[in-house]
């Protein structure tokens, strides 16, 4: 182990420019990967928050009383597409209104329950059904108005899909660049020790003895860069949790009802970065060693 460390130190000293550019490129790679994963998770979280609020609200005419709304509600509850129906009575609407406008006593005085319409808040399993549902409900008897905001969700979704594609392309490109940087820096290292390696083979060195320092070197660069990127990601996510932007925490896209605090998330992300750093370094240096250490 100290031997491997010595040869690494020797390389770092001798190839300063190579070392700096190696660290920069790999650091940027993992930073981009980290940011990409962050963006995916943040936008998925955002989407989840938006979707949670995406609902059709059906306001009823005053003459369409609770006795008529209830069977209407039961009928909706049995609809396949619908996940949740909540009845908001005139009184409840007033209570909510009061809550929202707490600090405006003048406004509150002028308002009574009778002014506000009763409504049903309807959530669908799939927000794609919101539009057709709202069209159907608009036709129903006793319905005053149907409101839904689906556009926001859809637009956000399409923007984030574009961002994902661009991000994925960036991540892949930088991984390819990093991979070739590992290979070329190891080639430099191997060439700079040419006669020593020749002698080592001559005296019967095991392959692993010759290869090990180079594999260690590749893994060292890659993991160190990933660690630096991880630290930056932890700081970023720590900031997110300080500002408390997402009260429930971050949601990891595809698991419903799964929320995680930004700090915990950043720790998981760090693990992902460091593991990918290790894999990139390991496979990159193995490929380089295979290519330039001929037997």
């Amino acid at each position: 182990m100290p031997k491997v460390w010595n040869s690494l130190k020797h390389y770092l000293k001798k190839e300063k420019l190579m070392t700096v550019s190696h660290f920069l490129v790999m650091g940027i790679t993992f930073l981009i990967l980290g940011i990409f994963i962050n963006v995916v998770v943040l936008s998925q979280t955002m989407l989840k928050y938006l979707e949670d609020q995406a609902q059709v609200t059906v306001f009823f005419k005053d003459e369409f009383g609770e006795d008529k709304i209830n069977p209407f509600k039961d009928q909706l509850s049995s609809d396949e597409r619908i996940s949740e129906v909540t009845y908001v009575s005139k009184e409840e609407a007033l209570r909510i209104f009061k809550e929202i406008n707490e600090d405006q006593p003048v406004l509150l005085e002028s308002i009574s329950a009778s002014v506000l319409p009763a409504s049903l808040e309807i959530k669908t399993k799939d927000i794609a059904d919101l539009e057709s549902l709202s069209n159907e409900l608009g036709q129903k008897e006793g319905v005053e108005e149907v409101r839904f905001y689906k556009d926001v969700v859809e637009r956000f979704r399409s923007v984030s899909n574009t961002v994902y594609i661009v991000g994925a392309v960036l991540v892949v490109s930088f991984f390819i660049i990093s991979y070739s940087v590992i290979i070329s820096s190891l080639r430099t290292a191997i060439n700079s020790r040419g006669s020593e390696l020749e002698v080592m083979k001559l005296v019967g060195a095991n392959d692993s003895y010759i290869k090990k320092p180079f594999i260690y070197q590749g893994v060292f660069f890659s993991v160190m860069s990933a660690v630096v990127a991880s630290i930056l990601m932890i700081i970023l996510d720590f900031g997110l949790s300080k500002w408390d932007i997402f009260s429930k925490g971050l949601s990891i896209g595809f698991f419903p009802d799964f929320f995680i605090s930004p700090v915990n998330f950043s720790l998981i992300l760090s693990c992902i970065l460091i593991v990918s750093g290790f894999l990139l370094g390991y496979f990159g240096s193995n490929a380089a060693v295979k290519k330039y250490l001929k037997y």
Partner: protein
Amino acid sequence: MSQIEFKNVTKEYISGVKVLDDVSFSVEQGEFIFIVGPSGAGKSTVIKLLLREESMDNGQILFQGKNIVEILPSEMPDYRRKIGVVFQDFKLLDSKTVYDNVAISLEVVNADKKDIKNIVPNVLSLVGLLDHADYRPQELSGGEKQRVAIARALAHEPDVLVADEATGMIDPDSADEVVEILEKINSLGTTVIMASHDQRIVDKLTKRVIKIEKGKIVSDKKGGKYRA
């Protein structure tokens, strides 16, 4: 079973140009043989084929009964340790001391530190350089450098020591010292194969001489002379 057997070995670096042509000979454990011939005759090629640094186009080489073509990559380091090699240009590492130049052959197989500390002084004293352990190669004469290279080749206690023009770059007195050391090693049981076109040394030792010319063995005699 001979230790080393060349059977009808043919080698072409460039297709159609036979550098070795139907070369057959065998070497017994503990022999001392010279491979002689003019420059370009194919002496080094014989050694490279034995070390499997080059592959042959025809024929077989058996080492201790085993066809060396069949040695797996994973077995190669082991094979190289059975055959110590010394070159005309020494191939020492200038950045390392004499001691470390010898120790490297043990370090590469992850030998115990204790073993290294035992073996290195032993082989250095065998070649008479124990007092030069802390020198660097550039502080040594040609003959001394070659003795370091021999010490390095001996660290694994090889079955065979191969020397390719080992005296080619050193003065006659130093060359005599090197050859004396090779004889000493041979007397301890190691086979020595020495490629050389140094008539003076070959004639002085009167060992078995295999003479190659233009890729063919033209004579193979015990107690031979260069011009026999």
